[in-house]
Amino acid sequence: MIQPKTLFEKVWESHLVAQEPGSPAILYVDLHLIHEVTSPQAFTGLRQRRLNVRRPGKTVATMDHSIPTHHPSLPIADPLAAKQIRQLEANAREFGIRLYGMESPNRGIVHVIGPELGLTQPGMTIVCGDSHTSTHGAFGALAFGIGTSEVEHVLATQCLLQRKPRTFEVRVEGSLSPGVSAKDIILALLAKIGVGGGTGHVFEYTGSAIRSLSMEERMTVCNMSIEGGARAGMVAPDETTVAYLAGREYAPSGDAWEMSVQRWMKLRTDDGATYDKSITLDAGALAPMITYGTNPGMGMSITGRVPDPDAFSDASQKLALKKSLTYMGLRPGEPLLGKVIDVVFIGSCTNSRISDLRQAAALLKGRTVASGVRVLVVPGSQEVKRQAESEGLHRIFKEAGADWREAGCSMCIAMNGDQLEPGQYAVSTSNRNFEGRQGKGGRTFLTSPLTAAATAITGRITDVRTLITH
């Protein structure tokens, strides 16, 4: 009898090049994505060793982290960012790597353009010097973030040394209520397991609620797997996956397409295969979620109250929560609903795709942003931007009083000048609420695009369900 296998095991085993006893596996990489921030030192390493890029066609570059989101005709004001961008251009040119550069109509956040171009495909191994590479797992790829030394390893050998992670099934059953979205599923999972709950594991998201999500929603969920400590999160490919990929620039075509689809549809966890860990969530019981602390695991239902550190028996947990609440300027027991905020950020590789922007625009249509609130809408790619503009979404955002930008990471990581001022409160659709993540001293509440848009309208943290039922 053939041993039943999980989706992860199937992809892992089909990429094993070699493994010596007592050593990590040598895993082949199908697609390597690079960006300006975590690659320069890897290329320097290659030059020092006089090595070449082994398979330049399997690496794709773009710039997203430190680029400005103002009009592309304006110069890059930050000389360090400009230097990094020039260096990526030079490295791509020297080693023959395809680059979606500043002028490219396909430029965007690396985790948005990979799927958009059809580069991301089921069953692949995909890596990038960026922890949110987990996003690509939505296609049934094994995709994870790596460090800069490993970027160099992949450039030189197209392989990585990897220890086999354990598997963790996240089963989500039922259907989401109106106003509740994919972002709320993942925030709810993180609130349950904490930021270290998935360490050493790869998540596989299963269950009827996951099956009924669109590809963009699956990407939102997989994107934040790393926030639970899991380097990768996967969803088995199905008709939704195939329909998304059909006709994309780098997706196979003709006979190759038919063969690929057949192969992809077999990429699912066999009956009888077991996971090392599992958890089940009831989608129907979920409310819109919001974080109150300084890591993505510190989240609760939007109608909840900030927890009391004294309710924790563990001394270090108590301390961690106290420290977080001090930074956030919050009191134990305080509700977050109604809290006045300064900035709303709609963007990032978690929630900057066209469906995210459509949701936010639908709510903002015919309404205006509360006075005194700065709202930044940053599409995930220039392609998303064009699509949004062809649908007139940009006009809705602008007429409501929001700022409509060029594609990039922007205020998710605050490297490009889009940042919070010290003490400001932001509701953000991004993935990290760490201290200073969106600007030194800035304070972040993570939510879905729907909650962010609702909050933009009232200027206070708002339960979107009160706006959509009216």
Binding site: H65, D130, T148, L161, V195, R432, G441
Partner: protein, 195 residues
């Protein structure tokens, strides 16, 4: 990479759980195109006032810890971003080991490639060490990779796990890329059949 030998040092305690890599090195310092100078920015937002002067209450600003080679941190150290700038910054400051009860996966992998040893000890051993440091900030600890032990100030020894491959690489100064490149033949064979 140089060989990792046993050493003795005082320990800088930073007893916070879930210290993410954005705290270890904030993103605005990631615009550099080389690895140098990162140590100056280690824990920048916890370490410096907005005007750039040191915050006196932050542990690494205590002159005593300028020579510390070991950092003692709370659980799940290094979560968040994959930036290898985090171990570069820790090494740049002079650290050679971080002791915690657990580490985030990507951080651990990055640290091992830079001669920074993630020393994972039990909650009991961690607690014991905290008590020793509270009693005497100058207490010395020995980290010995060969025997996979840390020797606490009272002479008691606590063991820590490390996979045999990383241990071999660290002890012998072997670089992982060199190892990987020996598999050129296997990689070529794999490529000839892999679609």
């Amino acid at each position: 990479m140089s060989q990792y030998s046993a050493f003795q040092s005082i320990v800088a305690p930073l007893l916070v759980n879930d210290i993410d890599t954005d705290q270890i090195i904030p993103a605005r310092f990631l615009k550099a195109t080389d690895k140098k100078g990162m140590g100056d920015h280690l824990f920048a937002d916890w370490r410096y006032q907005p005007d750039g002067s040191p915050k006196p209450e932050f542990v690494l600003n205590n002159a005593l810890y300028r020579q510390a080679r070991i950092l003692l941190a709370g659980e799940n150290f290094g979560c968040g971003s994959s930036r290898e700038h985090a171990p570069w910054a820790l090494c740049g400051f002079g650290f050679r080991a971080v002791i915690s009860t657990s580490f985030a996966d990507i951080f651990k992998s990055n640290a091992l490639k830079n001669g920074l040893l993630p020393v994972e000890v039990s909650a009991d051993a961690h607690w014991k060490l905290v008590r020793f440091l509270e009693a005497d900030a100058n207490a010395q600890v020995i980290v010995d990779l060969e025997s996979q032990t840390v020797t606490l100030p009272d002479g008691s020894r606590e063991s820590f796990p490390i996979d045999s491959f990383s241990k071999y690489c660290l002890l012998n100064g072997v670089d992982e890329l060199g190892y990987l490149m020996r598999f050129e033949g296997a990689i070529r064979d794999f490529e000839s059949t892999h679609s």
